[in-house]
């Protein structure tokens, strides 16, 4: 397997400026390094303010790192080269409806990335949009729909379609499952697993649901106060966590589900 993403000493500082004086340096992310292979899923877990969303934003190119490099297939990603970045790394957000433009139809929104990144003619673009809609379990008819006409699950599907339309190598999802109903959430998880299988996409999930992480992740990265606490395969971290925080995060939910666990196993 080849390493699709390598991150070296990625760092992010903010300056909290008050008045005339040069501001106070706030460290959102201390230097971290990790790598991800093709078709793998990485889950980033941590408490609020631990810097997990910062990593996601830095990788997706929404923010410029203060220091450190990101390599995609051995090639360095320039923080200001948005074209290179957006063809290979795409993002899905938490609130599907708010991340879609309410004023344009689904088809037009999906057309935009093709318009800016390919030199295809109109027919080929339309065909590709419809094919992508089918891939995420929607119909060709949804081309002319507006976001508010769709249910929450379908909206999230449109967001996924927008993320995969350029056939990227990495998709970053920031809390993409939180706002969905349980039965819809399972459908979306299935969809993501299918897409990963068919298209060999690497996923990076930022989430705090231990159950979903255990189900879909190959590797887990645990963050605390902008520092990397533990990084390893899902199996290793669940069976043999080295840090107290890892144990808490991965078992917090199952702990208060003691009852359900024991009764199911009985």
């Amino acid at each position: 397997m080849s390493k699709v993403l390598e991150v070296f000493d990625l760092t992010k500082y903010y300056y909290h400026k008050t008045g005339w004086l040069p501001g106070k340096k706030i460290c959102a992310l201390e230097p971290i390094s990790f790598s991800l292979e093709r078709g793998e899923t990485l889950a980033i877990m941590g408490e609020t303010g631990s810097g997990k969303s910062t990593i996601a934003k830095l990788i997706a190119g929404a923010e410029v790192p203060s220091n450190g490099d990101i390599f995609l297939n051995g090639q360095r990603l320039d923080p200001h080269n948005y074209r290179q970045r957006c063809q290979n790394i795409r993002m899905i957000f938490q609130d599907a409806l708010r991340s879609l433009n309410p004023e344009t139809s689904v088809g037009t929104q999906l057309m935009e990335p093709l318009h800016f990144n390919t030199d295809w003619d109109q027919d080929k673009k339309t065909g590709h949009v419809i094919e992508t809609l089918r891939k995420v379990g929607l119909l060709a008819d949804h081309y002319d729909f507006y976001p508010h006409m769709l249910s929450s699950g379908q909206q999230q599907r449109v967001c996924i379609a927008r993320a995969i339309i350029l056939e990227p190598q990495i998709v970053v999802a920031d809390e993409a499952f939180v706002a969905l109903d349980p039965s819809i959430r399972a459908q979306i998880i299935n969809l993501i697993l299918d897409l990963q299988h068919d298209m060999e996409i690497s996923f990076i999930f930022v989430t705090h649901s231990a159950e979903i992480v255990k189900h879909i992740a190959d590797k887990i990265l645990i963050m605390h106060h902008g520092r990397l606490v533990e990084f390893g395969t899902t199996d290793a971290l669940i069976k043999n966590p080295q840090q107290e925080l890892t144990k808490n995060l991965l078992h917090a939910e199952s702990k208060h589900n003691v009852l359900t666990h024991s009764t199911i196993q009985e």
Binding site: E47, T48, S151, S152, G153, Q154, D181, P182, S183, I184, R185, A186, Q187, I189, N190, L193, D194, H208, A210, E211, I212, K214, H215, I216, T234, N248, L249, A252, E253, K255, H256, N257, V258, L259, T260, H261, T263, I264, Q265, E266
Partner: protein
């Protein structure tokens, strides 16, 4: 002894396209000191039910019920003023986004002091201020906030979600209600904070004999202290019963699907496809007739266009023509 007894409650909302039945013949019983978890996805009418119990009623809603009793009062027969009095004395509610339900313009302390009822306070009007302050501090300690001075002096935007929820619990229990309705109290919280809030609610219920109606979205939020659970789908009761029984032996296909999609089972193969219900939750204007799960149900057959009656199996009650387990039809 049931303190809250709801039988066949229906709520119809007048819309431009004719009346829509949002809650359809829902029954719910709550015993004293019990924690009852009500589980429903969005659009299931679970928050509407809470509003109907508390009496936050919009004049456009038509509420009909065979019984809507709170202790010895028939809530539907009471006048507005009487009902207000009963609700104000016996019930309280906490919400999903505590930060946005607190008044942003006043300090937490002021809001908390305002919710302390005068009937609790001994002494004369001259010592009132001091006593209110003392009682507010006690409430803060009860919900697990130790540095009460700092928190009471701050404004809601300065608090984290967890602390804000604790404050709103403190305000809710200030007048010692008999029923606390918690409407998705921890949905937006992280797991460690969530566990704290649940532990606090369980403790309050055990200590004071307060009944709690916990409203949540999925089965992962059911706490071990919850004695009974009810699953609601699109305003219809799917299954109800003691938590353990329902979890161990789901009868209704909906319960079965919710259990398997909730990823409890440690034996689910990682990366395997999850069993799930197909389709989406219907919108209010397009409710299917009969059993509303019908179009998404794996067991649905012709008879499902009629709403199934509530039947019992062991300690559960469920509504389904074709349950997952063979149930004697004479029961």
């Amino acid at each position: 002894m049931n303190i809250l007894d709801i039988r066949n409650l229906s709520i119809e909302i007048e819309t431009s396209g004719g009346p829509v039945r949002v809650i359809d013949k829902l029954s719910l019983q709550l015993a004293e000191g019990e924690i009852h978890t009500l589980i429903g996805e969005s659009g299931s009418g679970k928050s509407l039910l809470a509003k109907a119990i508390l009496g936050f009623i919009n004049p456009r809603w038509k509420i009909t019920a065979d019984r809507l009793w709170w202790r010895q009062y028939d809530l539907l027969a009471l006048s507005r003023a009487q009902r207000r009095q009963v609700t104000g004395r016996d019930m309280a509610m906490i919400f999903q986004n505590p930060g946005s339900y607190l008044d942003p313009n006043t300090t937490v302390g002021e809001q908390l002091r305002e919710s302390v009822p005068a009937r609790d306070l001994p002494g004369t009007i001259l010592t009132r201020r001091k006593q209110v302050q003392k009682r507010a501090e006690e409430l803060m300690h009860r919900v697990g906030i130790k540095d009460h001075d700092a928190i009471m002096g701050s404004y809601p935007f300065e608090l984290s979600d967890g602390v804000a929820q604790k404050v709103s619990i403190a305000m809710a229990i200030a007048h010692r209600p008999k029923l606390l309705i918690a409407d998705e109290p921890t949905t937006a919280m992280e797991p460690s904070m969530r566990a704290q809030i649940y532990r606090l609610l369980a403790k309050l219920s055990a200590g004071d004999g307060m009944s709690i109606l916990m409203i949540t979205q999925d089965l992962t939020a059911v706490i071990p202290e919850s004695q009974r659970i009810s699953l609601v789908y699109c305003g219809q009761l799917m299954e109800t019963g003691p938590t353990e029984d329902v979890m161990r032996e789901p009868v209704q296909p909906y319960t079965g699907a919710m259990l398997s999609t909730s990823l409890f089972n440690s034996d689910t193969e990682p990366k395997s496809r999850l069993p799930t219900l197909s389709g989406a939750i219907p919108t209010l204007q397009h409710m299917p007739i009969g059993c509303r799960l019908g179009p998404r149900c794996p067991n649905a057959r012709r008879a499902c266009i009629e709403q199934p009656p509530l039947r019992s199996y062991k300690k559960h009650q469920f509504a389904c023509h074709y349950p997952l387990i063979e149930v004697d039809s004479h029961e």
